[in-house]
Symmetry: C2
Subunit: 350 residues, 2 copies
């Protein structure tokens, strides 16, 4: 196990692939693999609020394990939310249904200085307890991935106070208040680093940083508001044996070079083989469009095969989606895709 930052080598294909070491099958997991598309998730959801599901350790652990039982993915990812950090900083978040809402978003430069400092074990003990319980229940069979939001994406929500398509008002704040923007992004990076390190200490064998909205930035602004904070986070959480994955959704792979992650998660707009060449020696993860999981199973398998053909012979590759599993996905299609990745032999009919 790599739970405590030791350099013991495991034989989990997922971890081996993250480091580009030989392994005996292509590892696969799916973003949002625990979620609304699973009947057993919906059954729990009827009894618990969304926040409860994240913050009651045995419920979060149970949800985390649900997809592994059904599908046998190569990694679990702790059931949580990127916004779970914000209340710990003094920004209250509600999940009333149609997306998150902040009651006291950041509106002025001075609001940044009112943010609390995150002391992980006292602010989010439930998350780490959920990780400990999950790791115990996994019994070493599969690694568990911890995760958090990236500073820019967290800042988007902290400033706009709710979801947005273009985050123009969040960006306008960054442009208008560059000094406060830097302080905010640094605060969020500190908090996210502390949160990831606490997840690793609790037993997470890998971590993924979600910069879900970095794709709204120009290259220059990504280099100001996105990349430096991602690079700082990667450096501050990387430990022997514990890979760091960065998912900067919608960002061209050429802009990611130098962040220092073991693996970059990419969406379906990116050519995975080209990205791999650009980012080597780092690896890539992706990139099936989750919309293919809504359609006929043979089409989903054909697209899966295309990705597998394309990545043939590349050790540093993890099969995943380009974004999260969609609520109306048929679990049997997910099963078929996971099986196809595991059973795949190059050149078989697509």
């Amino acid at each position: 196990m790599t739970a405590h930052g030791t350099s013991v080598t495991t034989s989990w294909p997922f971890i081996e692939a993250c480091f580009g070491r030989p392994h005996d099958r292509i590892p696969v997991w799916m973003m949002r693999q625990a979620g609304r598309f699973l009947p057993e998730y919906r059954a729990l959801r009827q009894k618990h609020s969304f926040l409860d599901m994240c913050l009651v350790p045995d419920v979060a652990a149970e949800i985390t394990l649900q997809p592994l039982r059904r599908f046998g993915m190569d990694a679990a990812i702790i059931f949580s939310d990127i916004l779970i950090l914000l209340p710990a900083l003094g920004l209250e978040v509600r999940f009333p249904g149609g997306g998150p809402e902040l009651t006291n978003p950041i509106q002025a430069a001075g609001d940044v200085d009112r943010l609390s400092e995150l002391v992980p074990e006292s602010a989010l003990p439930q998350v780490y307890e959920a990780i400990r319980q999950t790791v115990a229940r996994l019994e070493g069979e599969r690694p568990l991935i911890g995760f958090c939001g990236a500073p820019f994406t967290l800042a988007c929500y902290a400033i706009e106070g709710k979801g947005s398509k273009d985050w123009a008002y969040a960006k306008a704040f960054l442009y208008r208040e560059p000094a406060a923007a830097r302080r905010l992004l640094e605060r969020l990076a500190d908090a996210a680093i502390a949160h990831l390190n606490a997840q690793i200490a609790a037993g997470a064998a890998a971590v993924q940083i979600f910069d879900s909205w970095a794709g709204v930035l120009s290259r220059r602004d990504f280099e100001l508001f996105g990349k430096p904070y991602l690079a700082r986070m990667v450096a501050a959480v990387q430990k022997p044996g514990v890979p760091v994955i960065v998912f900067a959704r919608g960002v061209p792979p050429a802009w990611l070079d130098g962040i220092g992650a073991e693996l970059y998660s990419l969406d379906w707009r990116t050519d995975l083989a080209e990205a791999h060449e650009l980012l080597a020696p780092a690896g890539v993860q992706g990139n099936l469009d989750p919309a293919f999981l809504l359609g006929p199973r043979d089409r989903a398998l054909k697209e899966t095969g295309r990705i597998l053909e394309q990545m043939y012979g590349i050790d540093r590759f993890v099969f995943n989606l380009g974004h999260g599993v969609l609520p109306r996905t048929d679990p049997d299609t997910v099963k078929a895709v996971v099986d196809r990745v595991h059973e795949w032999t190059p050149g078989q009919s697509l």
Copy 2:
């Protein structure tokens, strides 16, 4: 005038720039330049529903002219909506406030065959009358741009029935029902072509096709569901003297080559000079992030200057935003940017 497809050369800088002919100043207009950020628009909005504003010709004409009076842009764009086509095809759209809603979206392959054929002059006479009135009131001082949505973007709304961030269900329909998808995209292309040609016949001096959501497609799917329909539309509306602009938002410029437009409108994630090299001899339009218009005026002007410096000496360039003007934009900042473009001399302090 080029209103009737003649090849008479005008001296409008905007039209000259579209064709890469010499002109004496850098032309500028802004997507959504007529809209909520203008007090005189909000005053009219209190008296009319959104659809009325599009479909009562003298109101639409008045709104179209509002920004030109204030800011002196180099082109007007008819006040309308890309979804105005859908009711004419039998898909009822309502604008209840938080975005459009369709009462009878396309849910099955058979729904495609129930769409009506668009006979523009009988289906949307108000739009063409608004164009005639606007052109008359412009008295030749400025050209008027007509526009419509691209087939893929219209299909997204037609299938999902409301706005979406990722259009996964619309894409899933296209994947699941490829034959119906082709028929739907062809129908929408036919309708959009008829609508643009009727706008040109009514006096539009240029047209812009908005593929607002093409950025959710992979390259292969853009080549299946986006590009061929854009290319077909361009070929079917292009007339001597009447330029066609394509705005496929979020699509990398390399994917656009071959569509045949005079100008490609690009957002702030694209390097405008690189795009110009890729797409030459076609021109480019863009690409100030509208979020800069929300902030301090000097920052907006600095970013404007950067774009102007970058595009120095390139005739086939029209200054624009990378997306529409945002509702909370200060009109005086828009004025300052338009003036800066018009007065600009290379090398002046940014």
